[in-house]
Each structure stands twice: as C-alpha cells, then as structure tokens.
C-alpha cells in the first residue's frame, strides 16, 4: 500500500516501519495485519474513530504492548523488539500523551531531564541542566517559559511544550503526538502547529493523531486511516479531501450505521428548569418526552457529563428545579435518582459502571438488591434467573451468569451495565458515551437496544463525543459549551456542519478561557 506514494521526497528507508502487525487482547483482535511507516522529516497523521486501533498502534510503537507473532517492526531498516517503554525511548521514539505525564512539584528543567540529568561526577550539574533546558525551549520558540518554574503552575500549553522538550532532550527521532490540541485554546494551537513544523524541518518524524480535520490538512504530509483495527489506507495529503477521509474512517453512510427507528413521542417525563451546578452546569432548561432520544453534543469539558451527574444526583443541583412526570423532585444522591426512576449508564465503564471482579449476576442485580430481597435476604434464585434473562435479552456473549464481568469484551461489559439499569425499570435512561471503545458490531447492537427501549416508552438522553452517533440516533440534539446549552436542533435540521459549528464556535472562547484558567 505504501508503494503508491511516490510524491514525497522521502529517503529510501523509512525511519520506522511496521509490517503485518496484529495485536490480540483476550481473544479479540484489535489490530489486524497493519502496515505503517514514518519517514524522517515527515508529519504522518493517524486517523480513525474511537476503538479503531490508533492507541494500540502507538502503544506498540512506544513499547507498552508487544505485537502478536508474525509482525515486524524496524527502525532504520533494522528489526527491533521492544520489551519495555525504555527500549522504545532508547531507539529514539518518544510519545506526548493526551494526559501529560509530568511531575507537578518539580521545575521545568528537572522535568525535562528527569532520569538523564547531566552530572559532574556523582552530583547533578544544575547549571548545565538549566542551560540545556533553556536551549531546548528556545528551540521550541518558547523563550518566555522559565526553566525554574514549577510545572504544576503552568498552563496546559506550556506543560505540553515541556513534554516535547523532554522528548527532544532524549534525542527523539520520532515523536508521537496523541491529540495534542484537544485541550488547547486557538492561539496555543497555532503555536503548537508552528512547533511541529519546526521539528519537521529539523528532520524529526512525527505521528500526529487528531480529530480536527483543519489541523491535519494544515500539517500532515501523509495520512493513514484505521478502522476496526484494520488499515484502510495511507495517502499523501494532496490526494484526499475532508469527505474522502470521513468515508474512509466510517466506511459506510451514516444511515446504514445507525438503525434509527422512529417511534411515537409521548408525554413529557423529565423537565429541567434553570438547573445549575456551581459553574460547571449553568442554567439548563429542557423537556424530555417518553420515547424520545435526546442527544447531547459538545466537546470534552463542555458540561455534558456534568449535566448527567447533576440529574443523577452525584453532584446535586445547586439551583433550579427538576420535575418528573410533572412533579417537582429533589435528587441529592444516586440512590434517590434510582428510586424515582432515573438510570445512568456512566461514561467510564470500568470505573463507574461495573464491578469487574464480580460476576454478571452480581453486577446485574446491584442497583435493585432491595427489590429482590425479603427481610434483607437476597433471593438468589430470582437473581440468577434475572441474570440469565439479561444475558438472553441483551445478547451478552458470556459463559453464564457466574462469569466475571471483567472477563467480557468491552461491548458485552456495556450491555451488562445497560442490563443493570434497565432491570430497575427506569423512566429516564441517561447514556454517557454508550459506545466508547467498543467494536462496530457491538456498537450497532447497543444502538438497536437503545431504539428498542425508546420504543417501549423510555425517555433517553444520549451523550456522545461521536458526532455521527449523535446525528444518527437522536430525535433532538442539544449542544453544550462552557456548561451552557448553546443550541438545540431537530433531527431534520441537524447536519454535521451546523452541529459541529455550534460545538466549536459559539461561545467556544468562553469554554476554553475557563479551561486555561483552571489549568494550574
């Protein structure tokens, strides 16, 4: 596939090359026979939906995962096998992660040289360390960044520069950047792009992961698309446009992907009137009806999840009114929310949704133990039959009710969480990132279940970072930004362009200013 690329002035051997790389976790192949290469002085963009295998690929490159047998990884043409992240670093591969891995209580210079500080004899050579840190930062066009500053007090953008300087201090020849602009304000994004270009000019190879198309077209020399763990293609940036990349990523039209069934919309179930939680959720008013799927779109940190947590009583509302079936209710805890018929399938499945060490049976019954017990004694027979019903109804692929939840695949784990909440017989179901990190097959099963539940009269709120999912599934779309509702769209008027614009533009400065302000 890479042989079709003759337009670039690349040197003969790529700096790093992957051939036929696969990776299997617990019987599931998350990366399937992928070929990939990066050349010196090239920005190579890596694209794909969540769960497409991008992070697995970069974890193989940075030595966290070992690929399955049969693949080959070469650096400068020589085969290598990384047994630990250290090996990858020694081979000149450095990664700047989304969540920055720095020591907040150390200075900039200390962070850059941690683990390989210059020494004079036994002692650290502080002057040399500070001098070299200064030089590295000047190189990154950051003369304003003080090498003696505490890293914990820096903005996200500055911490990112420290991270890049740290990579360069180890003579990185390949720099992997995982969504480096996800939490940056516009001005910082422009500065970062300049830094990336500067590095490329010095011959550093860069793998650049981002969901933001404009950045990819502004920076990349080539782009590789992954989908469901397979390589879809590698193209010079000049040969593709926005639409072509999206269709490579999604692989089918949105209508096919989302089995949206239109069901009659009933009476209002949940109503919020000027609900706020501190400054994270501000002044939200909405009406949710039976049978309706309300999609909430917004960037990370826009207040989507915070709104769900407020409705569910984890962070109870500090002002405003919540009505259920027309009656005002107070929700101070998840327990109260559950008891009045609100269910929440949380964003972080492993942490908030499941007790992985326990069985499917114990997980499914967890939210309604008091209802299946008499005089506090849990009815085990009833519990087991409930778990078996859930396995059948939700199509959970498991050995049986006594299998531990942690042994299931992501999609099946999500079905267990969904089963737990549907078992409580709720009136309102909030699903936060319902299909994050699960494969495409399980994804459409979850979507079908969602439609079925709505058809049974459940009122559904769906929060998602994937715009196609929001557009494909929702009857109505609410866009949040900076903790506020900025816009609502009906299904008919919602297009990727207008919803995307509402997410990023309107009030964007507000939301970002807040993030930058809360960084230290």
């Amino acid at each position: 596939m890479t042989t079709t690329l003759a337009t670039e002035d690349a040197s003969a051997t790529p700096l790093v090359q992957l051939r036929n790389i696969s990776k299997t976790f617990g019987g599931i192949k998350v990366l399937k026979n992928v070929d990939f290469d990066v050349r010196r002085g090239e920005v190579h963009a890596l694209l794909g939906e969540n769960g497409a295998g991008k992070s697995t690929l970069i974890k193989i490159l940075s030595g966290f995962h070992h690929p399955d047998e049969g693949g080959e990884l070469t650096v400068n043409g020589a085969p290598v096998a990384f047994s630990a992240p250290r090996d990858a670093r020694n081979a000149g591969i450095a990664t700047v992660y989304q969540e920055l891995l720095l020591f907040p209580d150390m200075t900039v210079a200390e962070n850059i040289f941690i683990g390989h500080a210059p020494r004079t004899g036994m002692a650290l050579d502080w002057n040399e360390m500070r001098r070299r840190a200064r030089a590295l930062l000047d190189d990154l066009d950051s003369p304003d960044l003080d090498v003696d500053a505490r890293v914990g007090g820096l903005s996200v953008a500055n911490r990112q520069r420290v991270e890049i300087a740290k990579a360069l201090s180890q003579d990185a020849r390949l720099l992997i950047m995982d969504e480096p602009t996800a939490s940056l304000a516009d001005a910082d994004v422009r500065r970062l792009l300049d830094v990336v270009r500067r590095l490329r000019a010095r011959g550093v190879a860069i793998i650049y992961i981002s969901h933001r198309m404009p950045e990819i077209f502004a920076l990349a020399d080539r782009v590789t698309v992954l989908r469901d763990g397979a390589l879809i293609g590698t193209r010079p940036i000049g040969e593709v446009d926005d639409a072509a990349l999206v269709s490579m990523m999604v692989g089918r039209s949105i209508d096919q992907l989302f089995p949206k069934v239109t069901v009659p919309i009933g009476a209002p179930v949940l109503e919020l009137r000027n609900v706020s939680f501190k400054d994270e959720v501000q002044d939200i008013s909405l009406v949710l009806r039976a049978g309706e799927i309300l999609g909430i779109a917004g960037l990370v940190g826009s207040g989507r999840t915070e709104l769900a947590l407020t409705i569910f009583g984890i962070t109870p509302a500090t002002s405003g009114e919540i009505l259920l079936n027309g009656e005002p209710v107070t929700i101070r805890s998840p327990r109260q929310a559950r008891d009045i018929g609100i269910a929440y399938v949380p964003e972080d499945r492993g942490l908030q949704g499941l007790v992985k060490a326990q069985t499917i049976r114990e997980n499914v019954s967890m939210a309604l133990l008091s209802r299946i017990s008499r005089a506090s004694i849990v009815n085990r027979a009833l519990e087991s039959s409930m778990a078996r019903d859930a396995i059948a109804r939700f199509g959970i692929r498991a050995r049986g009710p006594e299998q531990r939840a942690g042994q299931l695949s992501g999609g099946n784990q999500q079905k267990v969480v969904l089963a737990k909440w549907v078992a409580t017989n709720p009136k309102v179901l909030i699903m936060d990132e319902p299909t994050r990190g699960i494969d495409v097959g399980a994804k459409s099963e979850i979507h079908a279940l969602m439609c079925k539940l709505a058809g049974e009269g459940l009122a559904v709120i769906m929060i998602s970072s994937e715009l196609p999912e929001v557009l494909g599934m929702s009857d109505r779309i609410l866009v949040m930004n900076g903790g506020r509702m900025v816009k609502t769209f009906d299904r008919s008027e919602a297009t990727p362009d207008v919803v995307g614009a509402a997410m990023t533009h309107a009030g964007a400065a507000h939301g970002r200013a807040e993030q930058a302000g809360s960084a230290p």
Binding site: L354, A357, A367, G406
Partner: protein, 314 residues
C-alpha cells in the same frame, strides 16, 4: 465463579489446618485433649469476635487498628461505671458496649465524612482511645466483681466455655449477613469498586459507618468478656489485639485490597493461629519462635492466595 474460588482457597487453608493439627498432636500428647481444646476456645474468643467485623472492614478495603484500644477503653469504663459510679453491673456492661459502638462510629465518621484513609484515621484513634483509657484509669485496676459475672469469661454452658458459644453464634450471624443479605452485597461491592457501587445507588457511606460502628460494638463486647475472664480491669488490656485480629482475617483469605473474603475463612484462620500458638508452646517452643512461625505461615498463605487469584482472574 467467585464463590468457587473462595471455597478453593478455604479448602487449601482447611487442609493446612489439618496438617498443622496433626503435626502438633505428634509433638505433645496434651494437645489433643478435650480440656486443652476447650481452653483454647476460651482464649481465642475475644480475638475471634473482633475478627468477625474486621472481616467486613477489610472486605471494604479498609482497616481498623483501633479495636485493641477500644477494648482497653471499654474494659476500663466497665470498671469505672460499676465501681466508681456505682451503677448496677448489667447496666455498666451495656454502657461499656455502647461506648465501644460510639468509638467505632467516630472512626466511621472520620473515614466517611472527612475522607481520611482508614489506616490513618484508626492509627490516630488507636492512640486516642488508649490515651483516654489510661487517663481514666490512673493506673489503678478494678477488682472484686460478683461471682455471676465470671460465668461469661470463666464459666461453661453444657460443658463448653460460655464465650465459645457466643463466638459461634456471632460467627453464624456474621456469615449470614455477609453471605446472604443486601448489606453483605453492598460490603463486597464497596470493596471491589467503590465508585461503581455509588453509581449503582448503594449507600457507600452508610455501609462503612455501620461496619466501623459494628467493629466498635463487638470490641466492647470482647472487653466485657476479657474482664470476666481475667477477673480484673486494667487500662493496657487489648494492647496489640488488632494485629492478632488482622492476622487471622488475612490468613483466612480476605484480600487486604478489598472485595474478597469470607467469615468461614476468618474462622479457619483464627483456629490455625491459635493452634500454632498453643501447639508450639506445648512442644516447648519459646514465644519468640511461635511468632516467627505465625509470620511464616501468614506469608505462605498470602502467596497461595496470590497464586490462586492469578489463576482465576480475567
């Protein structure tokens, strides 16, 4: 699946217990006599009682280091209520146990309301409660309890020491609560994943509060039995009991990281420790040697548990 792997661990532990009993019986002909066995039951009752709520505490991922100090405090207060304040002895006994419950409740409040890690919170109250006990007692001991009071610690019912009956009854109740009830489920869920438990509508704070209060109450009960057994009240009673209790619980297969453990395991662990102590003493091993052996057995049991959980985990 989980239940089966617990039983597997307990089967190993039970086997270990049989081997130990057999070896010790070879060493001394006094070991396997009814009198000795019943006497050992008497001696392990206090540690055994406290080990029951401690199993709950450790399953939630917590620890309670203050139980020995609560025992000391309650013992002193029993004497003070009866001897110094002139309250009827039954009232003094109830009050002493109530004080134990309050001490446990305070632990629970510090842990749930102020989010202090249990290790730190109960390390602090370990010192605090012991300090109170010593301050109240002024190094004086209380003696001269009426004869009926000694039934609890020195008497027998149907030929079996009274406190052994109490231990057996409480162990059955604890096993039923942990194994069968919604509260037991909440205990495991909190220990295995506190956040998910909270997100499932389980009242995490209430669960912990009840467990630490229970640990205090049972420590108070153990104090009353202790005083009855030794016929006197002193402020240094129960010093170091927490370590014996934790040893028995952990030896019984309860994971110190929370989420796993059973009452049956704790009981087997308790018997194993007591048998080792007694058997080795009868075989002429000095006290120091006994401690070394118990330490080694503990490490071996933990290694075995880790091997099992590695095999069984997904």
């Amino acid at each position: 699946m989980t239940l089966r792997s617990f039983l597997r661990h307990e089967a190993v532990l039970g086997f270990l217990l049989i081997v130990v009993l057999f070896l010790l019986a070879q060493q001394s002909d006094k070991f396997f006599t009814t009198a000795n066995i019943l006497n050992q039951g008497r001696l392990m009752a206090e540690v055994g009682l406290i080990a029951l709520p401690m199993t709950f505490v450790i399953i939630t991922g917590g620890i309670d280091l203050s139980v020995g100090s609560i025992l000391g405090l309650c013992a002193i207060l029993l004497g003070v209520f009866w001897h110094n304040l002139g309250l009827p002895l039954p009232v003094a006994m109830v009050l002493a146990i109530v004080v134990g419950g309050i001490a446990g409740l305070i632990n629970g409040l510090i842990i749930t309301r102020f989010k202090v890690p249990p290790l730190i919170a109960t390390l602090a109250t370990l010192a605090l409660y012991r300090g109170l006990a010593e301050g109240i007692s002024q190094a004086r001991s209380v003696r001269g309890y009426p004869d009926w009071f000694f039934v609890l610690g020195q008497g027998e019912v149907l030929g079996v020491p009274t406190q052994l009956w109490i231990l057996v009854i409480f162990a059955i109740i604890a096993a039923a609560i942990l194994g069968l009830t919604t509260f037991g489920r909440a205990t495991y869920a909190v220990g295995a994943n506190e956040t998910a438990a909270r997100f499932s509508g389980i009242n995490v704070d209430r669960t912990k509060l009840l467990i630490y209060t229970g640990a205090g109450l049972i420590s108070g009960l153990a104090a009353v039995i202790f005083v009855s057994r030794v016929s006197t009240t002193r402020s240094d009673m129960g010093t170091g009991v927490e370590l014996d209790v934790i040893t028995a619980v952990v030896l019984g297969g309860t994971s110190i990281f929370g989420g796993r453990g059973t009452i049956i395991g704790t009981v087997v662990g308790l018997i194993l420790v007591q048998a080792l102590k007694n058997g080795l003493a009868l075989s002429g091993v000095k006290g120091d040697g006994t401690i070394v052996v118990i330490g080694l057995v503990l490490i071996l049991a933990i290694l075995a548990t880790n091997l099992f959980s590695r095999n069984g985990d997904g």
